[in-house]
Symmetry: C2
Protein backbone atom coordinates (compact mmCIF):
# COMPACT_ATOMS: atom_id res chain seq x y z
CA UNK A 1 0.00 0.00 0.00
CA UNK A 2 1.16 3.54 -0.67
CA UNK A 3 0.98 5.91 2.26
CA UNK A 4 -0.17 9.50 1.76
CA UNK A 5 3.40 10.73 2.07
CA UNK A 6 4.66 8.17 -0.43
CA UNK A 7 1.89 9.12 -2.84
CA UNK A 8 2.84 12.81 -2.63
CA UNK A 9 6.43 11.85 -3.36
CA UNK A 10 5.33 9.81 -6.38
CA UNK A 11 3.13 12.55 -7.78
CA UNK A 12 5.99 15.02 -8.15
CA UNK A 13 6.81 14.42 -11.81
CA UNK A 14 3.81 12.73 -13.43
CA UNK A 15 4.47 12.01 -17.12
CA UNK A 16 1.55 11.13 -19.38
CA UNK A 17 2.51 9.00 -22.38
CA UNK A 18 1.10 9.87 -25.77
CA UNK A 19 1.22 7.90 -28.99
CA UNK A 20 0.65 10.98 -31.13
CA UNK A 21 2.75 13.59 -29.32
CA UNK A 22 5.62 11.16 -28.82
CA UNK A 23 6.94 11.61 -32.36
CA UNK A 24 6.82 7.89 -33.05
CA UNK A 25 8.72 6.89 -29.93
CA UNK A 26 7.00 3.73 -28.67
CA UNK A 27 5.09 4.14 -25.40
CA UNK A 28 7.36 1.71 -23.57
CA UNK A 29 10.41 3.75 -24.58
CA UNK A 30 8.72 7.04 -23.67
CA UNK A 31 8.19 5.58 -20.20
CA UNK A 32 11.74 4.23 -19.85
CA UNK A 33 13.33 7.48 -21.02
CA UNK A 34 11.07 9.63 -18.80
CA UNK A 35 11.78 7.43 -15.78
CA UNK A 36 15.52 7.61 -16.49
CA UNK A 37 15.17 11.39 -16.16
CA UNK A 38 13.33 11.19 -12.86
CA UNK A 39 9.65 10.70 -13.67
CA UNK A 40 7.98 9.52 -10.46
CA UNK A 41 4.64 8.50 -12.02
CA UNK A 42 3.56 7.41 -15.50
CA UNK A 43 0.04 7.58 -16.89
CA UNK A 44 -1.14 5.55 -19.87
CA UNK A 45 -3.82 7.48 -21.71
CA UNK A 46 -5.18 6.66 -25.16
CA UNK A 47 -8.72 7.43 -26.19
CA UNK A 48 -8.49 5.54 -29.47
CA UNK A 49 -6.92 2.21 -28.56
CA UNK A 50 -9.31 -0.72 -28.37
CA UNK A 51 -9.65 -2.45 -25.01
CA UNK A 52 -7.32 -5.29 -25.89
CA UNK A 53 -4.49 -3.06 -27.12
CA UNK A 54 -4.94 -0.73 -24.16
CA UNK A 55 -4.72 -3.70 -21.80
CA UNK A 56 -1.60 -5.05 -23.49
CA UNK A 57 0.04 -1.61 -23.46
CA UNK A 58 -0.84 -1.36 -19.77
CA UNK A 59 0.92 -4.65 -19.01
CA UNK A 60 4.08 -3.45 -20.76
CA UNK A 61 4.16 -0.03 -19.09
CA UNK A 62 3.27 -1.55 -15.74
CA UNK A 63 6.42 -3.72 -15.89
CA UNK A 64 8.65 -0.76 -16.72
CA UNK A 65 7.18 1.21 -13.81
CA UNK A 66 7.33 -1.69 -11.37
CA UNK A 67 11.02 -2.29 -12.15
CA UNK A 68 11.73 1.31 -11.27
CA UNK A 69 9.34 1.73 -8.35
CA UNK A 70 7.40 4.32 -10.30
CA UNK A 71 3.67 4.81 -9.87
CA UNK A 72 1.61 3.48 -12.82
CA UNK A 73 -1.81 4.98 -13.52
CA UNK A 74 -4.24 4.08 -16.31
CA UNK A 75 -6.56 6.79 -17.64
CA UNK A 76 -10.35 6.30 -17.88
CA UNK A 77 -10.55 2.49 -18.24
CA UNK A 78 -10.88 1.19 -14.68
CA UNK A 79 -11.30 -2.37 -15.96
CA UNK A 80 -7.96 -2.18 -17.79
CA UNK A 81 -6.30 -0.62 -14.74
CA UNK A 82 -7.56 -3.39 -12.48
CA UNK A 83 -6.87 -6.23 -14.91
CA UNK A 84 -3.31 -4.99 -15.57
CA UNK A 85 -2.79 -4.49 -11.82
CA UNK A 86 -1.91 -0.81 -12.27
CA UNK A 87 -1.39 1.23 -9.10
CA UNK A 88 -4.45 3.26 -9.92
CA UNK A 89 -6.81 4.92 -12.37
CA UNK A 90 -7.28 8.56 -13.33
CA UNK A 91 -10.88 9.60 -14.00
CA UNK A 92 -11.93 12.75 -15.78
CA UNK A 93 -15.26 14.44 -15.16
CA UNK A 94 -16.66 12.58 -18.21
CA UNK A 95 -15.42 9.18 -17.09
CA UNK A 96 -16.93 6.62 -14.68
CA UNK A 97 -18.14 8.49 -11.57
CA UNK A 98 -15.92 8.26 -8.48
CA UNK A 99 -18.53 6.45 -6.38
CA UNK A 100 -18.95 3.82 -9.11
CA UNK A 101 -15.21 3.35 -9.33
CA UNK A 102 -14.89 3.06 -5.55
CA UNK A 103 -17.29 0.10 -5.67
CA UNK A 104 -14.84 -1.82 -7.85
CA UNK A 105 -11.48 -0.57 -6.58
CA UNK A 106 -9.75 -2.76 -3.97
CA UNK A 107 -8.22 -1.14 -0.86
CA UNK A 108 -5.05 0.77 -1.68
CA UNK A 109 -6.00 1.22 -5.33
CA UNK A 110 -5.31 4.86 -6.20
CA UNK A 111 -8.03 6.97 -7.79
CA UNK A 112 -7.12 10.37 -9.24
CA UNK A 113 -9.83 12.80 -10.30
CA UNK A 114 -9.64 15.74 -12.67
CA UNK A 115 -10.92 18.99 -11.16
CA UNK A 116 -11.19 22.44 -12.68
CA UNK A 117 -13.03 24.15 -9.83
CA UNK A 118 -13.39 24.03 -6.06
CA UNK A 119 -16.73 22.24 -6.19
CA UNK A 120 -15.29 19.35 -8.20
CA UNK A 121 -12.31 19.24 -5.83
CA UNK A 122 -14.51 19.05 -2.73
CA UNK A 123 -16.77 16.39 -4.28
CA UNK A 124 -13.72 14.31 -5.17
CA UNK A 125 -12.30 14.61 -1.67
CA UNK A 126 -15.67 13.72 -0.11
CA UNK A 127 -15.94 10.75 -2.50
CA UNK A 128 -12.61 9.32 -1.43
CA UNK A 129 -10.29 10.31 -4.28
CA UNK A 130 -6.56 9.99 -3.57
CA UNK A 131 -5.28 12.93 -5.62
CA UNK A 132 -6.51 15.65 -7.95
CA UNK A 133 -5.34 16.48 -11.43
CA UNK A 134 -5.97 20.21 -11.65
CA UNK A 135 -6.21 22.12 -14.83
CA UNK A 136 -5.69 22.76 -17.98
CA UNK A 137 -3.69 25.47 -16.21
CA UNK A 138 -1.87 27.12 -19.14
CA UNK A 139 -3.56 25.55 -22.17
CA UNK A 140 -2.18 22.52 -23.94
CA UNK A 141 -1.50 21.19 -27.38
CA UNK A 142 -3.22 17.89 -26.59
CA UNK A 143 -6.52 19.60 -25.67
CA UNK A 144 -6.60 22.76 -27.76
CA UNK A 145 -10.28 23.45 -27.09
CA UNK A 146 -10.13 22.98 -23.31
CA UNK A 147 -11.16 25.93 -21.12
CA UNK A 148 -8.16 27.32 -19.19
CA UNK A 149 -8.14 26.85 -15.43
CA UNK A 150 -5.42 29.37 -14.69
CA UNK A 151 -3.06 29.77 -11.74
CA UNK A 152 -5.51 31.62 -9.50
CA UNK A 153 -8.08 28.83 -9.70
CA UNK A 154 -5.29 26.26 -9.21
CA UNK A 155 -4.35 28.06 -6.01
CA UNK A 156 -7.95 28.19 -4.77
CA UNK A 157 -8.38 24.48 -5.47
CA UNK A 158 -5.14 23.53 -3.70
CA UNK A 159 -6.24 25.57 -0.68
CA UNK A 160 -9.73 24.04 -0.67
CA UNK A 161 -8.58 20.44 -0.20
CA UNK A 162 -6.21 18.28 1.78
CA UNK A 163 -5.77 16.08 -1.30
CA UNK A 164 -2.46 16.32 -3.11
CA UNK A 165 -2.94 18.38 -6.27
CA UNK A 166 -1.02 17.74 -9.48
CA UNK A 167 -1.13 20.65 -11.91
CA UNK A 168 -1.62 19.84 -15.60
CA UNK A 169 -1.88 21.76 -18.82
CA UNK A 170 0.93 23.41 -20.75
CA UNK A 171 3.44 23.06 -17.93
CA UNK A 172 7.15 23.26 -18.81
CA UNK A 173 10.47 24.31 -17.28
CA UNK A 174 9.52 27.99 -17.57
CA UNK A 175 6.26 27.88 -15.65
CA UNK A 176 6.63 24.82 -13.40
CA UNK A 177 7.70 26.93 -10.42
CA UNK A 178 4.55 29.06 -10.68
CA UNK A 179 2.22 26.09 -10.24
CA UNK A 180 4.33 24.67 -7.38
CA UNK A 181 4.21 28.03 -5.65
CA UNK A 182 0.44 28.02 -6.15
CA UNK A 183 0.23 24.87 -4.04
CA UNK A 184 0.55 21.96 -6.46
CA UNK A 185 2.73 19.17 -4.98
CA UNK A 186 3.54 17.91 -8.45
CA UNK A 187 3.24 18.54 -12.18
CA UNK A 188 1.71 16.39 -14.89
CA UNK A 189 3.22 16.84 -18.33
CA UNK A 190 2.91 15.33 -21.78
CA UNK A 191 4.68 17.24 -24.56
CA UNK A 192 7.15 18.92 -22.18
CA UNK A 193 8.70 15.46 -21.89
CA UNK A 194 7.50 12.93 -24.47
CA UNK A 195 7.60 15.37 -27.40
CA UNK A 196 11.16 16.47 -26.68
CA UNK A 197 14.13 15.18 -28.65
CA UNK A 198 15.87 14.27 -25.39
CA UNK A 199 13.07 12.85 -23.25
CA UNK A 200 15.38 11.92 -20.36
CA UNK A 201 17.02 15.37 -20.34
CA UNK A 202 13.63 17.09 -20.42
CA UNK A 203 12.35 15.00 -17.51
CA UNK A 204 15.53 15.67 -15.56
CA UNK A 205 15.27 19.43 -16.06
CA UNK A 206 11.69 19.39 -14.77
CA UNK A 207 12.42 17.06 -11.88
CA UNK A 208 15.13 19.42 -10.63
CA UNK A 209 12.55 22.20 -10.25
CA UNK A 210 10.39 20.17 -7.86
CA UNK A 211 11.45 20.26 -4.16
Amino acid sequence: MVTKEQLKEKLKLYVILDRKLGNGVPLRQQAQLAIAGGATAIQLRDKEMKGRDYYQAALVIKDVCKENNVLFIVNDRLDVALAAEADGVHLGQEDLPLHAAKKLAPPGFIIGISAVNVEQAKLAEKGGADYLGVGDVFGTASKPDAKLTGVDMLKMICQSTSLPCVAIGGINVNNAKIVLDAGAIGIAVISAVVSQKDITGAAKALRELIP
Copy 2:
Protein backbone atom coordinates in the same frame (compact mmCIF):
# COMPACT_ATOMS: atom_id res chain seq x y z
CA MET B 1 -27.22 -16.75 -10.43
CA VAL B 2 -28.48 -17.90 -13.83
CA THR B 3 -28.33 -21.60 -14.56
CA LYS B 4 -27.18 -22.82 -17.98
CA GLU B 5 -30.74 -23.65 -18.95
CA GLN B 6 -32.01 -20.25 -17.82
CA LEU B 7 -29.22 -18.56 -19.76
CA LYS B 8 -30.18 -20.42 -22.94
CA GLU B 9 -33.76 -19.30 -22.42
CA LYS B 10 -32.66 -15.69 -21.98
CA LEU B 11 -30.45 -15.71 -25.05
CA LYS B 12 -33.30 -16.52 -27.42
CA LEU B 13 -34.12 -12.99 -28.56
CA TYR B 14 -31.13 -10.77 -27.80
CA VAL B 15 -31.77 -7.17 -28.85
CA ILE B 16 -28.85 -4.76 -29.10
CA LEU B 17 -29.80 -1.12 -28.58
CA ASP B 18 -28.39 1.49 -30.92
CA ARG B 19 -28.50 5.27 -30.65
CA LYS B 20 -27.93 5.76 -34.37
CA LEU B 21 -30.02 2.96 -35.86
CA GLY B 22 -32.89 3.64 -33.47
CA ASN B 23 -34.21 6.57 -35.50
CA GLY B 24 -34.09 8.88 -32.52
CA VAL B 25 -35.99 6.56 -30.20
CA PRO B 26 -34.28 6.89 -26.81
CA LEU B 27 -32.38 3.81 -25.67
CA ARG B 28 -34.67 3.30 -22.68
CA GLN B 29 -37.71 3.29 -24.96
CA GLN B 30 -36.02 0.96 -27.46
CA ALA B 31 -35.48 -1.47 -24.57
CA GLN B 32 -39.04 -1.16 -23.22
CA LEU B 33 -40.63 -1.61 -26.64
CA ALA B 34 -38.39 -4.56 -27.53
CA ILE B 35 -39.08 -6.23 -24.19
CA ALA B 36 -42.83 -5.69 -24.69
CA GLY B 37 -42.47 -7.72 -27.88
CA GLY B 38 -40.65 -10.56 -26.18
CA ALA B 39 -36.95 -9.62 -26.12
CA THR B 40 -35.29 -11.92 -23.60
CA ALA B 41 -31.95 -10.09 -23.40
CA ILE B 42 -30.87 -6.50 -24.02
CA GLN B 43 -27.33 -5.33 -24.81
CA LEU B 44 -26.16 -1.76 -24.37
CA ARG B 45 -23.48 -1.02 -26.91
CA ASP B 46 -22.10 2.43 -27.78
CA LYS B 47 -18.55 2.99 -28.93
CA GLU B 48 -18.80 6.76 -28.77
CA MET B 49 -20.38 7.48 -25.39
CA LYS B 50 -18.00 8.68 -22.68
CA GLY B 51 -17.65 6.48 -19.61
CA ARG B 52 -19.97 8.56 -17.48
CA ASP B 53 -22.80 8.64 -20.03
CA TYR B 54 -22.35 4.94 -20.75
CA TYR B 55 -22.59 4.19 -17.03
CA GLN B 56 -25.70 6.32 -16.60
CA ALA B 57 -27.34 4.72 -19.65
CA ALA B 58 -26.47 1.31 -18.18
CA LEU B 59 -28.23 2.17 -14.92
CA VAL B 60 -31.38 3.18 -16.79
CA ILE B 61 -31.47 0.11 -19.07
CA LYS B 62 -30.59 -2.16 -16.17
CA ASP B 63 -33.73 -1.04 -14.32
CA VAL B 64 -35.97 -1.65 -17.33
CA CYS B 65 -34.50 -5.15 -17.74
CA LYS B 66 -34.67 -5.99 -14.05
CA GLU B 67 -38.35 -5.00 -13.87
CA ASN B 68 -39.07 -7.44 -16.68
CA ASN B 69 -36.71 -10.25 -15.69
CA VAL B 70 -34.74 -9.69 -18.91
CA LEU B 71 -30.99 -10.31 -19.13
CA PHE B 72 -28.93 -7.09 -19.29
CA ILE B 73 -25.50 -7.15 -20.95
CA VAL B 74 -23.06 -4.25 -21.42
CA ASN B 75 -20.74 -4.31 -24.44
CA ASP B 76 -16.95 -3.89 -24.09
CA ARG B 77 -16.76 -1.81 -20.89
CA LEU B 78 -16.45 -4.39 -18.09
CA ASP B 79 -16.03 -1.62 -15.53
CA VAL B 80 -19.36 -0.07 -16.53
CA ALA B 81 -21.02 -3.50 -16.52
CA LEU B 82 -19.76 -4.24 -13.00
CA ALA B 83 -20.45 -0.77 -11.61
CA ALA B 84 -24.01 -0.77 -13.01
CA GLU B 85 -24.54 -4.32 -11.76
CA ALA B 86 -25.43 -5.61 -15.22
CA ASP B 87 -25.94 -9.34 -15.58
CA GLY B 88 -22.88 -9.55 -17.76
CA VAL B 89 -20.52 -8.15 -20.36
CA HIS B 90 -20.04 -8.95 -24.04
CA LEU B 91 -16.43 -8.85 -25.26
CA GLY B 92 -15.37 -8.72 -28.89
CA GLN B 93 -12.03 -10.04 -30.08
CA GLU B 94 -10.64 -6.48 -29.81
CA ASP B 95 -11.86 -5.91 -26.28
CA LEU B 96 -10.39 -6.90 -22.92
CA PRO B 97 -9.18 -10.52 -23.15
CA LEU B 98 -11.39 -13.15 -21.52
CA HIS B 99 -8.78 -14.19 -18.94
CA ALA B 100 -8.36 -10.55 -17.87
CA ALA B 101 -12.11 -10.14 -17.54
CA LYS B 102 -12.44 -13.37 -15.54
CA LYS B 103 -10.03 -11.90 -12.98
CA LEU B 104 -12.48 -9.09 -12.27
CA ALA B 105 -15.84 -10.78 -12.80
CA PRO B 106 -17.59 -12.09 -9.67
CA PRO B 107 -19.11 -15.62 -9.70
CA GLY B 108 -22.29 -15.74 -11.76
CA PHE B 109 -21.34 -12.71 -13.82
CA ILE B 110 -22.01 -13.60 -17.47
CA ILE B 111 -19.29 -13.15 -20.08
CA GLY B 112 -20.18 -13.41 -23.76
CA ILE B 113 -17.47 -13.60 -26.40
CA SER B 114 -17.66 -12.85 -30.10
CA ALA B 115 -16.39 -15.68 -32.29
CA VAL B 116 -16.12 -15.92 -36.06
CA ASN B 117 -14.30 -19.25 -36.27
CA VAL B 118 -13.93 -22.54 -34.44
CA GLU B 119 -10.59 -21.59 -32.89
CA GLN B 120 -12.03 -18.49 -31.25
CA ALA B 121 -15.00 -20.54 -30.06
CA LYS B 122 -12.80 -23.19 -28.45
CA LEU B 123 -10.55 -20.61 -26.82
CA ALA B 124 -13.60 -18.87 -25.38
CA GLU B 125 -15.01 -22.12 -24.05
CA LYS B 126 -11.67 -23.09 -22.53
CA GLY B 127 -11.39 -19.62 -21.00
CA GLY B 128 -14.72 -19.90 -19.25
CA ALA B 129 -17.03 -17.83 -21.43
CA ASP B 130 -20.75 -18.28 -20.82
CA TYR B 131 -22.06 -17.82 -24.38
CA LEU B 132 -20.80 -17.01 -27.86
CA GLY B 133 -21.96 -14.29 -30.20
CA VAL B 134 -21.34 -15.80 -33.63
CA GLY B 135 -21.12 -13.81 -36.75
CA ASP B 136 -21.58 -11.34 -38.81
CA VAL B 137 -23.58 -14.16 -40.40
CA PHE B 138 -25.41 -12.31 -43.19
CA GLY B 139 -23.70 -8.91 -43.20
CA THR B 140 -25.06 -5.96 -41.29
CA ALA B 141 -25.72 -2.28 -41.69
CA SER B 142 -24.00 -1.47 -38.40
CA LYS B 143 -20.71 -3.11 -39.48
CA PRO B 144 -20.61 -2.69 -43.26
CA ASP B 145 -16.95 -3.63 -43.58
CA ALA B 146 -17.12 -6.77 -41.41
CA LYS B 147 -16.10 -10.04 -43.05
CA LEU B 148 -19.12 -12.37 -43.39
CA THR B 149 -19.15 -15.50 -41.23
CA GLY B 150 -21.87 -17.30 -43.16
CA VAL B 151 -24.24 -20.11 -42.14
CA ASP B 152 -21.79 -22.95 -42.75
CA MET B 153 -19.21 -21.50 -40.36
CA LEU B 154 -22.02 -20.76 -37.87
CA LYS B 155 -22.97 -24.43 -38.00
CA MET B 156 -19.36 -25.57 -37.54
CA ILE B 157 -18.93 -23.26 -34.57
CA CYS B 158 -22.17 -24.40 -32.91
CA GLN B 159 -21.08 -28.02 -33.34
CA SER B 160 -17.60 -27.33 -31.98
CA THR B 161 -18.75 -26.11 -28.56
CA SER B 162 -21.14 -26.85 -25.74
CA LEU B 163 -21.54 -23.10 -25.20
CA PRO B 164 -24.86 -21.60 -26.25
CA CYS B 165 -24.38 -19.73 -29.52
CA VAL B 166 -26.30 -16.60 -30.43
CA ALA B 167 -26.17 -15.76 -34.12
CA ILE B 168 -25.68 -12.13 -35.10
CA GLY B 169 -25.37 -10.13 -38.29
CA GLY B 170 -28.21 -9.15 -40.64
CA ILE B 171 -30.72 -11.52 -39.03
CA ASN B 172 -34.42 -10.82 -39.62
CA VAL B 173 -37.75 -12.67 -39.86
CA ASN B 174 -36.79 -14.09 -43.26
CA ASN B 175 -33.54 -15.77 -42.29
CA ALA B 176 -33.92 -16.36 -38.53
CA LYS B 177 -35.00 -19.98 -39.04
CA ILE B 178 -31.85 -20.73 -41.06
CA VAL B 179 -29.53 -19.76 -38.20
CA LEU B 180 -31.64 -21.62 -35.64
CA ASP B 181 -31.54 -24.72 -37.82
CA ALA B 182 -27.75 -24.28 -38.04
CA GLY B 183 -27.56 -24.70 -34.27
CA ALA B 184 -27.87 -21.22 -32.80
CA ILE B 185 -30.07 -21.24 -29.66
CA GLY B 186 -30.85 -17.56 -30.12
CA ILE B 187 -30.55 -14.55 -32.39
CA ALA B 188 -29.01 -11.15 -31.72
CA VAL B 189 -30.52 -8.30 -33.68
CA ILE B 190 -30.20 -4.54 -33.95
CA SER B 191 -31.96 -2.94 -36.93
CA ALA B 192 -34.44 -5.82 -37.33
CA VAL B 193 -35.99 -4.50 -34.12
CA VAL B 194 -34.78 -1.05 -33.06
CA SER B 195 -34.85 0.44 -36.56
CA GLN B 196 -38.44 -0.70 -37.21
CA LYS B 197 -41.41 1.63 -36.97
CA ASP B 198 -43.16 -0.85 -34.68
CA ILE B 199 -40.37 -2.09 -32.43
CA THR B 200 -42.69 -4.25 -30.29
CA GLY B 201 -44.32 -5.85 -33.34
CA ALA B 202 -40.92 -6.55 -34.91
CA ALA B 203 -39.65 -8.17 -31.71
CA LYS B 204 -42.83 -10.22 -31.43
CA ALA B 205 -42.56 -11.51 -34.99
CA LEU B 206 -38.98 -12.63 -34.35
CA ARG B 207 -39.73 -14.15 -30.96
CA GLU B 208 -42.44 -16.34 -32.49
CA LEU B 209 -39.85 -17.94 -34.77
CA ILE B 210 -37.69 -19.13 -31.87
CA PRO B 211 -38.75 -22.45 -30.28
